[in-house]
Each structure stands twice: as structure tokens, then as C-alpha cells.
């Protein structure tokens, strides 16, 4: 057989065959970083949270910032891949798998961060045995676990056709167990019209349910903050603000990962200038929406400020407190994207990617600014406490677990792109000779 899909698959097979020494070395580095994070976690469990920067006043720190950040990335990935699937947008097909992988990997990496904030991690099962349905924490557990299962399922659905191709590929030299694995995972897919129909239906159903699930999950995440009576948190626009921030950071990361794979795997033919162009356009729209939400949020706090709000806002612009972080956030989440993405003569694949990388960083900083300053400035300040307990500072344990989280996310990408092509080969091959899209549901008329 020499179908376009098989031809295209041949292009990717070298990346899927026996890993090179370089690949093993890269994986080893990532595993070592991940293990270092594991060591930090074990130390934290043995010594307690005293070895973190979290104290009585600032009970959350970069663990929570990481949690919000990674959850946001996962939401954006899910939204992009599922909405593009439902809307039958063909041009985006080559990058949809990257978006799906961002979703699943960031969910796997991000979800545990909230658990690291627990003082008694050994009592984690109490969350299930004594969980209260009226607690935002319980909502989060339910929503995130549901979202994770759905996203993994969706990722798998999009792989089925490629697994079938790899199962059938005669010149694919891999270990027999991998062949058997592909055979099992392909579910006997042979590309018959009936199977295509069922697979499309499964795809569409999952895509349709993941979008609201992800929106709900991320909105619920924002409720963890906005349900609390804290300055800077108790805000009605937090849910949509979080959702927009998630989309903004997720799209920026997608561009960065697209660029990496494009360079690394020489995918210029598949991940083209068009993708960067279109996504840059999406990014500039999100920049303005994000700026609008941020402006609304801070303006209302500033306009009728109480003493506590005044202190909080002063700390956010005070360069001995959070001023530098705020400036970084403003410059790289608002100003630079508008300048670089807004003017055609600044726009290029590299500049768009660079701006996206800074947006990702700036939005991590934003999450830090959401979490820490309000905790340090409560309505009722903590009394009779050591001065070093009032303010938050990141400890090596927290840095180790944060860096190891990034390593694990990269590791998931590295392994996943070794199991299956990083672009959905079957989908891309069918892109140009697909039959007319069928209606999602029956409508009266033509």
C-alpha cells in the first residue's frame, strides 16, 4: 500500500524507531531532574512544610501558582484541539496533537501541585472519604479528574488511526512488544467506512464534552480564590478572567512547542508560516481581551480602595516588593505582544515564538502575583508572629519541584513523540482529499 498516509508515515518512522543515544541522554537528564524533585518532595514529607517558604500568613506559594499555570495550559490545549476538531478546521490539523499533548501533560504535571500545599499529604485519602460537595476543593478534584480522563481519552482517540498505520507499516523496525501494543491500541481499525463513522462520532462527542468540562474545571479553579474573602481574590470576574488567561498562556505555549518541533524534527513542510501567522493573530486578540480583563480587575480595586486594597496595590508597584514582577508581567504580557504582533514588520516565526515564550513566563509571574501578594496582605493582618513568617519566599524545595514539573512535562512530550508521530499523520494525509464534511446534527432545509 502506498497511500498518502503511508508515505507521510514513512517520514516519521525514523523518529519512532530505536531511540538514539542522544535521546537516552536527554531522557536521563529529564529523569534526573524529576528524581531531584521527588527527593525534594520526600524531604518535604519528612521534615514538613517548614522547609518550604509557606507559613501561617502566606499559606500558598509557587506550588499554587504552578497549579493554576499548568491547569491553564491544559485548558487552552483542550479548547484549541476540540474546537478545531468540531469546527472541521483543516489548516490546524498538523498542530492539534501538540495541543492535545500540552493538555494531557500539563494536567498530569499540574494537578499534583495543589497536593504539595497540604500539610499532611498522608491524609490525602480524606479528600475522598470526608469530601464535602459544597467545598470548592471538592469541585476542583471532581472537575480536574474528570477533565484528565476525558482528555486522555480524546488524545487516544486521535491516535487510533496512526496506531493502525504503525501496526500495518511493514518497514517499521521496532520491538515486537511495541508492534503488539500498536495492534491492541489500534482496536482493529482498518479504515472501513463504518469504522471511520464510529471514530468520527467518538471524536466529536468527546470534543463536545471536553470544551465545557475544561471551562468548568478552570472556572472552578478560579473559585478557589474568588470564594475567599481576600483582597485581590474576592472578585466576580475571576472565572472568565482565568479562562481568558488560560487560553492566552496555552496558545503562547503551543506556538513555542510548535517552533521547537518544527526545528527539531524539521517539520517546516507541515508546521508552516501559516500556522504561526494565524496563531499570532489569535494571540494578539487574546492580548487585548486579557488586557481588558486585567484593567477591569485592577481599576475596580483601585477606584474605591480600602486600606487593605491600597496596601496590596502599593505592594504590587513597589519595587522592593512585587514591583519588578509586576513590571515584567505588564511589559511581556501587554506591551511587547502588542508591539511585536501588532505591527507586520516585526512579525516573523522567530519573533512570534520569542514573544510567546515571554508571554508564557509573564503569565506564570501573573499567577504568582495572584497567589502571593493577597496572602501577604489580608484584611486582618496576622498578629504576634515572627517577621519572617509574614512574607513569602521560595525555598529550594519549591524550586526543585517546580523545575522537575517542567522536566516531567518535557519528558511526557519526549516519550509520547517516540510512541506516535507528533503530527496526526492520518488526519493530515486525509486533509486534502477528505470528503465533504458531514453535518454534526440534522437541520431542516437544504
Amino acid at each position: 500500500m502506498n497511500t498518502p498516509a503511508h508515505v507521510l508515515m514513512k517520514e516519521f518512522i525514523p523518529y519512532l524507531e530505536k531511540p538514539s543515544a542522544k535521546w537516552y541522554a536527554w531522557v536521563a537528564i529529564l529523569v534526573i531532574i524529576a528524581l531531584f524533585g521527588m527527593y525534594a518532595l520526600i524531604r518535604q514529607m519528612i521534615d514538613g512544610q517548614i522547609i518550604t517558604g509557606m507559613r501561617d500568613n502566606a499559606v500558598w506559594g509557587i506550588y499554587t501558582a504552578n497549579f493554576v499555570f499548568f491547569m491553564g495550559l491544559s485548558y487552552a490545549g483542550a479548547l484549541i484541539s476540540c474546537s478545531f476538531q468540531l469546527l472541521r478546521i483543516k489548516w490546524a490539523k498538523p498542530v492539534l496533537r501538540i495541543a492535545e499533548l500540552i493538555t494531557v501533560s500539563s494536567l498530569i504535571v499540574g494537578a499534583p501541585y495543589i497536593l504539595f500545599c497540604l500539610g499532611r499529604l498522608d491524609r490525602i485519602h480524606f479528600l475522598f472519604t470526608h469530601g464535602r460537595i459544597q467545598s470548592p476543593i471538592t469541585w476542583d478534584v471532581i472537575a480536574i479528574s474528570t477533565d484528565l480522563v476525558f482528555c486522555i481519552a480524546f488524545l487516544y482517540f486521535t491516535h487510533i488511526r496512526d496506531f493502525a498505520k504503525l501496526r500495518d507499516a511493514s518497514d517499521f523496525n521496532v520491538a515486537p512488544w511495541r508492534k503488539k501494543m500498536y495492534s491492541i491500541l489500534a482496536l482493529g481499525y482498518k479504515g472501513t467506512p463504518v469504522q471511520k463513522k464510529y471514530l468520527h462520532q467518538a471524536h466529536d462527542i468527546m470534543a463536545a464534552i471536553i470544551i465545557p468540562t475544561a471551562v468548568i474545571a478552570y472556572s472552578l479553579l478560579s473559585l478557589l480564590f474568588s470564594m475567599s474573602l481576600k483582597p485581590g481574590w474576592h472578585s466576580t470576574i475571576f472565572s472568565p478572567y482565568f479562562v481568558v488567561t488560560a487560553g492566552y498562556s496555552g496558545l503562547a505555549l503551543l506556538i513555542v512547542v510548535m517552533w521547537i518541533y518544527r526545528k527539531n524534527r524539521k517539520l517546516e513542510k507541515h508546521i508552516t508560516n501559516l500556522h504561526f501567522n494565524y496563531f499570532a493573530f489569535g494571540l494578539i486578540i487574546l492580548t487585548f481581551i486579557y488586557a481588558y480583563f486585567s484593567f477591569s480587575e485592577y481599576l475596580t480595586q483601585w477606584y474605591n480602595q480600602t486600606k487593605t486594597f491600597e496596601t496590596l496595590l502599593n505592594n504590587l508597584v513597589n519595587f522592593s516588593q512585587f514591583g519588578w514582577l509586576s513590571l515584567f508581567h505588564i511589559v511581556f504580557a501587554f506591551i511587547v505582544p502588542v508591539i511585536i504582533l501588532g505591527f507586520p514588520w516585526f512579525r516573523s516565526i522567530n519573533s512570534v515564538t520569542l514573544v510567546s515564550a515571554f508571554i508564557v513566563l509573564a503569565l506564570w509571574v501573573k499567577r504568582y502575583l495572584i497567589v502571593v501578594p493577597p496572602l501577604e496582605n489580608p484584611f486582618i493582618p496576622i498578629q504576634d508572629v515572627r517577621p519572617e513568617y509574614v512574607n513569602y519566599s521560595v525555598s529550594w524545595v519549591e524550586w526543585a519541584l517546580s523545575i522537575s514539573g517542567i522536566a516531567v512535562m518535557i519528558l511526557i512530550f519526549t516519550v509520547a513523540s517516540k510512541i506516535a508521530p507528533i503530527i496526526p499523520v492520518s488526519e493530515v494525509a486525509d486533509m486534502h482529499n477528505e470528503e465533504k464534511p458531514k453535518l454534526l446534527f440534522k437541520t431542516k432545509g437544504e
Binding site: Q134, W139, I142, F157, Q195, A202, I205
Partner: protein
């Protein structure tokens, strides 16, 4: 020459005292000042618990320049059958005020009609003149009577003066203010006047906010009467509209033992909908696998 000397001598004789006075005005003031006139004001209060209070204000000066005389010694005496009885010697405070409290069981000297003749006097000193003030007091007793007729609530008060033998006699044409005790003051409800039996009655509205059980504390007050002074009497009754004043902590709506029903239903529906679609898509895969086997 002699004439000139005489003129100078006589001029000096006239001007010297003027210069002296101008250079030492304090001496002039002291020598020239008269003692300030003083005034005494007395008020008699009978509180709801039967304790009494005689309030004295000692002031000096005139018009707008009136001021209290501090640390003034005031004597309180009672006159009975031409004999004077010393009751108390009290000192005014910095505002020129002094108060004498009489316990409910202390019997003031009174004549057979129940009249007590008191005299408050201030002997004066180098600065202030003496002053005195007489005060006639008759002890009065107020009794409450609550009555409901055709669902209308009436509050009655019986006013009796008490003589030395403890016998009561009704007081007629006595104006009594009725009110309800609130947190900081008395809420006026109405004014009434006693009849020949010393009785007066007032209709009480139904909608006066009471405590959680509707309890009200009614206050009957005779205000600054020439004979009785200011007399207050209180009584409690549950004629008020019950109001729970307990300040509940601001409700944290989800800090409850059980989740609200709407939330349980909403979560159930959302989860059911989501997982239904999940298993629906899984069923498509099952069909896909079966279709593969069939082909």
C-alpha cells in the same frame, strides 16, 4: 513759686494713686472686687427602683458669664416642726455640681401630710456670696395596671401620694409621660393625666418592637413636678412585637454540614451528562472494534 509748688504737690497727690493703680491692676482688682453672687438649683429624682437622688448645681456670676463653683461645700438640712436636722454636707465637683443619693429604704423627715422640707445652703467664701434654696418634696407612688379589652391593650397608672403614716392618697390632674425603654433612650408613646382617683390610662399600639419574646419595659415619668420632682417608674410586659436582635455571623453560604439540594442536583446532572457522553463515545469505539472484527 509757692503757687507752683502747691500745684505740683496737688497734681502729684491726684496722679500718684492713678499711676499706682495703672501699674498694679491686680491690686486694684482685688481691692475693688465684690464677691460674686451665687445661685443654687436643686432637682429631686425618684428612680424606678425607689432610690432617690437630690441633684444640686452651684453657680456664680450672671447672664452668660455664669460658671460652676467648684469645691463648694453645700449643706443639706431638713426642717420638721421648727427643728432643723442636718442631713448631709457635700462638696461640688469641678462643674459645681453635687449629687446626694438616698436609698429606697431611707426615710426623709416629713410632716403628717408627707411633705418633706429641705434646705440646701452654701455659706460662701472670700470670692462667692452665700446662697440657699428650699425644696419641698412629697413622696409619690406610681403603680402600673395592664388591661386588654377587645384585643386593645391599655396601660394604666395609679398615682398616690404617701404620708408619714404610709397611707396613700390619690393625686389628680397629674401629667404622666408614658414611653418604652430603648437601647439609648425612652421612646415616647403618649401623655396622660390622672383623674380624681389618681388613675390614668393609655392605649398601647401593637407594633412596638420588643425583644425576642416581645418583652417591653414601659416607663411612666413625672417630669420636674413642683411637689414630686422627677419620678420614674418602670414595668415589664410582653406586649411588644417579638424581634430577634441576635447578631448572627454573616452567613458563609456553603459552610454547612450538608450541601444545598440545588447544588447536589446540579453536580449530579453535570457529572451524569459528562460521563454519559464519555461512555457514549467509548461505545462507539467498541462498535468500531466489532466492525473491524466483522470485516
Amino acid at each position: 513759686m509757692n503757687r507752683i509748688n502747691k500745684s505740683i504737690t496737688s497734681s502729684f497727690a491726684i496722679l500718684a494713686p492713678i499711676f499706682f493703680l495703672l501699674l498694679c491692676p491686680e491690686n486694684f482688682a482685688k481691692t475693688a472686687a465684690k464677691k460674686e453672687r451665687t445661685r443654687l438649683k436643686t432637682y429631686y429624682f425618684k428612680e424606678a427602683d425607689g432610690n432617690r437622688k437630690i441633684s444640686i448645681a452651684l453657680t456664680a456670676g450672671s447672664g452668660k458669664k455664669m460658671h460652676g463653683v467648684k469645691n463648694g461645700t453645700v449643706e443639706l438640712t431638713a426642717t420638721l416642726n421648727d427643728s432643723t436636722i442636718n442631713l448631709a454636707v457635700i462638696e461640688t465637683d469641678t462643674l459645681g455640681e453635687a449629687e446626694l443619693y438616698l436609698a429606697s429604704n431611707y426615710v426623709l423627715p416629713m410632716d403628717e401630710d408627707g411633705k418633706c422640707f429641705l434646705e440646701v445652703s452654701y455659706n460662701g467664701n472670700d470670692t462667692y456670696r452665700s446662697a440657699s434654696r428650699s425644696l419641698e418634696i412629697i413622696d409619690i407612688d406610681l403603680e402600673f395596671e395592664f388591661r386588654v379589652e377587645d384585643s386593645v391593650k391599655y396601660l394604666g397608672v395609679i398615682a398616690n401620694r404617701i404620708n408619714a403614716e404610709g397611707e396613700k392618697a390619690p393625686v389628680e390632674e397629674l401629667s404622666i409621660d408614658i414611653g418604652v425603654e430603648r437601647l439609648f433612650s425612652v421612646l415616647p408613646i403618649g401623655e396622660m393625666e390622672t383623674d380624681e382617683d389618681g388613675f390614668a390610662e393609655l392605649e398601647i399600639p401593637d407594633n412596638i418592637p420588643g425583644d425576642a419574646e416581645g418583652e417591653l419595659r414601659f416607663v411612666a415619668k413625672i417630669e420636674d413636678h413642683d411637689e414630686f420632682g422627677t419620678v420614674t417608674k418602670t414595668a415589664e410586659n410582653n406586649w411588644g412585637a417579638p424581634v430577634d436582635y441576635t447578631i448572627k455571623p454573616l452567613a458563609r453560604q456553603l459552610f454547612t454540614d450538608e450541601a444545598p439540594l440545588w447544588m447536589i442536583i446540579a453536580v449530579f446532572i453535570i457529572l451524569l451528562g459528562a460521563w454519559y457522553h464519555f461512555f457514549l463515545s467509548i461505545s462507539k469505539l467498541v462498535k468500531l472494534k466489532k466492525a473491524g472484527k466483522a470485516s
